[in-house]
């Protein structure tokens, strides 16, 4: 099966190629970048040297020939590709924000018009597996909403307030240097940002509501001096107190058939480079702390995108995704 990656120069693109090296059937045959057309892929992603002779092509002038395409381009750009690829019979996983929210919510949150909207499954398979199975198009969730939703899902219906306090590695900001990612601003520091207004909050609210929650949902992200990984601390206030045994059982039951969600103490290294989400919960009555750990570039982006591809194309859900985390 031929795979194209539209926008392959960033971290998500590099991870898609790295992970698909281990897939039983998928082969990356096309990687695009407007700016880098003609450049060898391994010049931008040196970890891939020896594995590939691919060169970037120009997605606007060179043909995209593939069975599946991943869109790893910024929001508002993905919407210019999705429809065209689908109309040519190419299945699409969109890693951007363009199809994660209803049209009007998207336009409000992102402050831009949506020029080619259609409804799409929201690709957290643990929540929406049925919709992703055999789908032609899946919208891949944001990194924060993935970790947050999986942390709170089992208690969604029992909570009146859910506060997500997330700590993210810097690769989540992409490969483009800025004051925010300047080492001396990050090293030996912890940087809260968008204290009450991060765009990913809309996805969290949507998912908890989908799960039947009536809780108020809040979100404050922080940048930590870490390359990869998101640790999300969900402070959950319950309508009725629950004992430790009870909440733990809710979590174990909720995820008992999930390959990628493990009930254990969340440690970023234990999921580093892998598609796992480790989650654990502790109750003190009406307040519960649930914490999840994911690799923002894998379960939070490229790995989950491949998980969705597997569901869409009939492969084992963990095909290409059976690597263990890199600890330490």
């Amino acid at each position: 099966m031929k795979v194209a990656i539209v926008g392959a120069s960033g971290y998500a693109g590099g991870e898609l190629v790295r992970l698909l090296l281990h897939h039983s059937a998928a082969e990356v045959t096309c990687v695009t970048s407007r700016k880098l057309a003609g450049t060898p892929l391994d010049q931008i992603h040196p970890q891939l040297k020896g594995f590939t002779d691919l060169k970037f092509t120009n997605p606007e002038t060179d043909a995209i020939d593939a069975d599946v395409a991943f869109l790893a381009v910024p929001h508002t750009v993905a919407m210019t590709y999705a429809g065209k690829l689908l109309s040519r019979g190419i299945k699409v996983v969109d890693l951007s924000a363009d199809y994660r929210l209803p049209k009007e919510v998207f336009e409000k949150v992102y402050g831009v018009p949506h020029t080619d909207f259609f409804k799409a499954p929201y690709g957290i398979p643990e929540i929406h597996r049925k919709d992703c199975l055999n789908a032609k198009f899946v919208s891949n969730p944001g990194c924060f909403p993935t970790g947050a939703t999986l942390a709170a899902a089992p208690l969604a219906q029992l909570a009146h307030t859910v506060i997500f306090d997330s700590k993210t590695g810097v690769s989540g900001a992409g490969d483009n240097p800025s004051a925010t990612t300047h080492y001396p601003n990050v090293g030996d520091n912890v940087g809260p940002y968008k204290w009450t207004s991060h765009r990913h909050l809309a996805e969290m609210k949507q998912e908890l509501a989908f799960l039947g929650s009536k809780a108020n949902v809040y979100f404050t992200p922080h940048l930590v001096p870490v390359n990869r990984g998101i640790l999300t601390t969900a402070h959950i206030l319950l309508n009725e107190p629950l004992e430790q045994k009870e909440v733990e059982k809710l979590y174990r039951d909720f995820y008992k058939n999930e390959y990628f969600v493990r009930y254990q103490k969340p440690i970023l290294a234990a999921v580093r480079g892998s598609n796992f989400c480790d989650v654990m919960v502790e109750s003190e009555g009406t307040r519960v702390v649930a914490i999840s750990a994911i690799d923002n570039l894998v379960k939070g982006a490229s790995g989950q995108a491949i998980q969705n591809m597997n569901l869409m194309c009939g492969y084992k859900e963990n095909d290409g995704l059976t690597g263990a985390g890199l600890l330490p």
Copy 2:
């Protein structure tokens, strides 16, 4: 004025000496360590080489001759020194937990009997200045409660729920190696610990109650790959919504006469090595995020202890504490 530091081999001890180099009147004349008696101070604290010829003395066998003594020993040890020093007319600032809580609360939280209890001012001068002024004894607060209390104080009476999510540098764990502080367990990681049961929670509850709060108070600390500093994110749920202008005004007013509390975006580097607490607040209606940054070894320990000493002994409150933060 002669100053003794009982238990001077740890980080708090090193910081006391470093900061007191700049004090107008205090001179450290005695540093003790049972294990290191006879060893030059600068062998353990190499940053002090050239500043001092002091050697550690044995606090059990050598006389402690001083006007003021800092107790920088573990809890349960401080209580064996405090009374004796006071009875000899030596003023005492205790950096341990021994006198921060009522006897019965202390015994419950720390699981040990208190063998020499008496009441003491709780030395956050911004909250308890009057009690510290000219006091003979002050109990210096914990690092987490200092940052947390200062983050939430202005809203204490208006909140029904306060959740402190703290991110602390590793020096807070002391200079004793353990699995928790082993570099490969900390680097590129974020480690939640004591998710619902950290001992410092009792101090936070006590202080918010002192400020007239009826809020439920929760606390979850995290270890981040940082040497110094605590960033505390206070998720505050209000009884009635407040606009941004209103909460900001509350904070500015509350701290308008405080030298060491600055209303600005909290950045660990901006307070690194200094006694400042930077705090800022953002409202989204009934939920407010207030974040504070302190250096856990300075405003969270040694600097605040000197601030208390200044109040106790009649010096300017910021004597020895006018250094700016080390950014980057």
Copy 3:
């Protein structure tokens, strides 16, 4: 093929299991630890949760049933296992220092008698492949000597002086906490240690001499705030000046058939978690700088051990080792 790991509780043990998950034929069936006998493997190596039900067994009382055994125990301990396992027809890869040096050199460098010495191939396959092929026993090299030897090998015969200045991640110190690995001693710091007397120097001298070098060889290691990886800067002084083109050609030729050595700018992340050694060279006449990057736990330990196992047992040399580096 059944694989035993003697001493599986440390980082090298964890990596052996992680990497062998991807091997075509090898299956880890026995993991030992004297202290942890009975404990599930994934309790110590949480990244492996979901992949294994193995429990640690006691190597002194429980049978070691395997076709191949890895010794991941400290020096002087390996020599108590190697002979016994070999006599039972089990092939052995020893990751300790016990068989890397001639008996008298070992005893001098390590200051202990060798109680069961025999000669063994030194398992850098790029240098000693023929000796490792079908061998029953291979001594796996130290992490520093692997990176250093590969950095300098192509110029070994042309140099009169080779100075290795290495920068290593902290996982090289093992999983046992100490002052050296205490986060506040490592974070935001660079720590030289054993400036002129590191034990691994003897291996470097041995390997350069094997390659025909008459150079004086020096070595100074430094600890850097990094989890994994060794960057070795080889400062090489040549007998005769060489132009950039010439040295570069020497390197490209020397490694042209080597899967695991790539001629490109060394970046720790590009080899992180992988068995690659990236190396590059720059000449300024009679002085050349050659720099190599490896993952100390993979090419510097467990990955190279599997590479050796593959050679000993007739598998493709890269079986189980085709993962790309984890960048960023």
Copy 4:
């Protein structure tokens, strides 16, 4: 005494203000920035909030009224200010590279013409104190050459080869974001750059030659995941072997009257934020390893500049510079 800082928006500017807060006589009265004219200084340097009401002025249109001016502007810019300020009777310390090298060397190394050259003392006071005393103008050395020169000076005349392998914190790259300083490119990594051709090499050669050395001098810098500090490992090859006692004595004697150079194990934290250079040496015969640690922004820039100002203006050499390092 009134002090102006031309180009005060960068790290060196921030440090000059921070350090001069503790000076007995100097007061910063003018801070310039072309881009930020009108902006409060503490908005760019939040660590200074509460200490200053200064605003940036435009150095091209606003008067610079001062007794001493620090030039903290890029090379080629400093030469447009130095002469003008001097002609107005303002003493000048130039932190740029413009006056560190002879005209022709500067023009070759920096590839630009020098439009206003004159000779200036090279401000490492430990080497050129006499020339700096009462000088009207001093050229402040580069960060790398300061650490390197102080590491090798006592052996300059006895060596035939000196190889400087430096590890620098990222603040040395300035406050301007770039791919080089992008956190994911630096975190958990060690990055060699300009392996044989760094511009600072010319200063090192000049200084060792000044000290009577005939050694070949080489230099390879590395970027490490550290905010501040340079650790320089000098690999020194001697003409004749020296014992440990002998080299140690040479170092102790060479620096015996120097306040800012301490003979002790170099640890970045021990000099962090301070003007000290810690240096130590270890011999193995004809090869000696000498290692120095400095704070690149203090002894490597702003602190040394103030040290020079003190010499130029008749203050105690350590006025304003008596802070101890921030460890940990």
